[in-house]
């Protein structure tokens, strides 16, 4: 029996890629013959670790395919033709309406992705969902098979690496640093973060800055509109970092006084876990996958109100007891995402099913 992991794109350092590689090593530990196949492979991935899907061997009835589902791709169609056992890992697909007017390609890919998820309900024999929110989505799409919730495997060891000192030296001062990490994409609602920052800077604390950390490749229209928004609001101290190196990312986490997330659609949201790891108090709009990942931790916004969010930042920054309480709660939640716990869950679920 072979265990094949299949996904459209294996990018270096992204959540799905890290999860796939971590699952691969766990399966290897279990003694199974396993391999990863992808349509697109990031050139930074170690050679030999992932093979092109065209080189995938013909699968037999007793083989297992673990398919990572996160976008619209022809693999969604091909999966049903494989004569083997099928496990779908659902990482969620962003609703296409978010991309309207910004990226037609993303709109089409997400729209086709959702259709693919719906069709695969007949194909999936067993599913893993990153969060309860993702599980609920699969149930809403009519999935009848067993669906277990298994969080994304997080490489915590990487976070202990050295940050880029130059960035820390540049911005470590008496300013309040508000940080959000995530691709510049419309569903993450960076405009609401900017608006919250506007209120905080104008009415509460002028000595503050905002870092929007994340790549905007493919989302140039949205990025330009965000920049225009910053200009129109006459806001200073808003920094778009674009795509940055890992040690630079660590620097922003080291600098952060508050992690602010106003995203309206997340399947899991790894940056929340990262903020927990770095002991940064989180203020987040409590919706979709964010709600599951926080599960009561962090300072949560029930409704989208940027003025309340700005006031929350003030409370967290100015009151030590609130900050301490939030960090304690976050640390408690973080324990539930430990590598060992997730690994054990993967092993028990795999053994049970295989």
């Amino acid at each position: 029996m072979r265990v094949i992991q299949l996904l459209p794109t294996l990018s270096y350092g992204d959540a799905v890629g890290n999860d796939t590689i971590a699952i691969d090593s766990i399966i290897k530990e279990l003694g199974y013959d396993t391999k990863i196949y992808a349509e697109n492979i990031d050139h930074r991935i170690a050679k030999g670790l992932v093979k092109n899907v065209k080189r995938m061997p013909e699968l037999q009835k007793h083989d297992v395919v673990i398919y990572h589902l996160s976008m619209g791709t022809v693999l969604n169609e091909q999966l049903s033709s494989f004569n083997c056992r099928k496990l779908i890992v659902y990482h969620n697909i962003t609703p296409p309406h978010f991309f309207k007017g910004y990226s037609q390609v993303s709109e089409v890919l997400c729209s086709e992705g959702i259709k693919g998820v719906q069709r695969l309900r007949e194909v999936a024999e067993y599913c893993w969902a990153d969060s309860a929110y993702n599980r609920k989505e699969l149930l809403n799409y009519g999935y009848k098979c067993n669906i277990d919730i298994i969080p994304i495997v997080i490489p915590f060891d990487n976070y202990a690496k050295r940050p880029k000192q130059l960035i820390i030296n540049k911005y470590r001062d008496d300013y309040v640093n508000i940080v959000f990490v995530g691709r510049v994409v419309p569903n993450k609602k960076q405009e609401d973060i900017i608006k919250t920052f506007y209120y905080y800077k104008k009415y509460i604390n002028f000595k503050s800055r905002l870092f929007l950390v994340g790549s905007y490749y493919g989302m140039e229209k949205y990025y330009e509109k965000l920049r225009m928004y910053v200009q129109e609001l006459k806001l200073s101290d808003v920094h778009f970092t674009g795509q940055i190196k890992f040690n630079e990312l660590l620097s922003y986490y080291h600098l952060a006084d508050v992690f602010l997330c106003m995203s309206e659609h997340e399947g899991f949201c790894i940056p929340l876990i990262e903020a927990m790891y770095f002991g940064i108090p989180i203020i987040a709009y409590d919706d979709t996958g964010v709600r599951d990942t926080l599960n009561g931790a962090g300072f949560r916004l029930e409704t989208k109100d940027c003025i309340i969010a700005a006031e929350m930042i003030d409370q967290v920054v100015s009151k030590k007891e609130i900050k301490k309480y939030l960090i304690d709660m976050q640390n408690k939640r973080l324990e539930e995402f430990s590598y060992e716990l997730t690994k054990n869950k993967i092993i028990s679920c795999l053994k049970k099913w295989i």
């Binding site: 619209g72 969604n76 330009e224 674009g242 304690d328």
Partner: protein, 141 residues
Amino acid sequence: MNRINIDQIMEEIYMNIKNRQYDIEPLSFEEVKMCQSAIQNLDGYSTKDFLYDLNYIIYNWNIPGNITTVTSNPLTALVKKVVHKLTRFIIFPLIDFQSSYNASTCRCIIQIKEYMFEIEKYKEKINKMEMEIEELKSQNK
């Protein structure tokens, strides 16, 4: 872990909101007019932005001709395939032409980058030499 009183904090927040007299809506994101061209929105030279865009150009100069069209409907897939095959004799040469144009542009910009960095090095050298001259001048006085 000492619990905090969320209700009390929220009460304080609402009180602060009342006292600070916020603008209800300074400018909504929807009202922002999209810039016609990203180029218009440049505000001065930035090495970081330059390298960021250059990196994008380096990895994307080549336009792939075989972009897979994702579609759920088999009939649409067939139609798309037929259209793709019927138009490739026009599209492919155009793609090749654009790709080679992109490649040349890309090489030019890389050359400019190298030249700029060389100038930067000379600038540093000149600064250093100027400082040394000044130092020698002051020693000779």
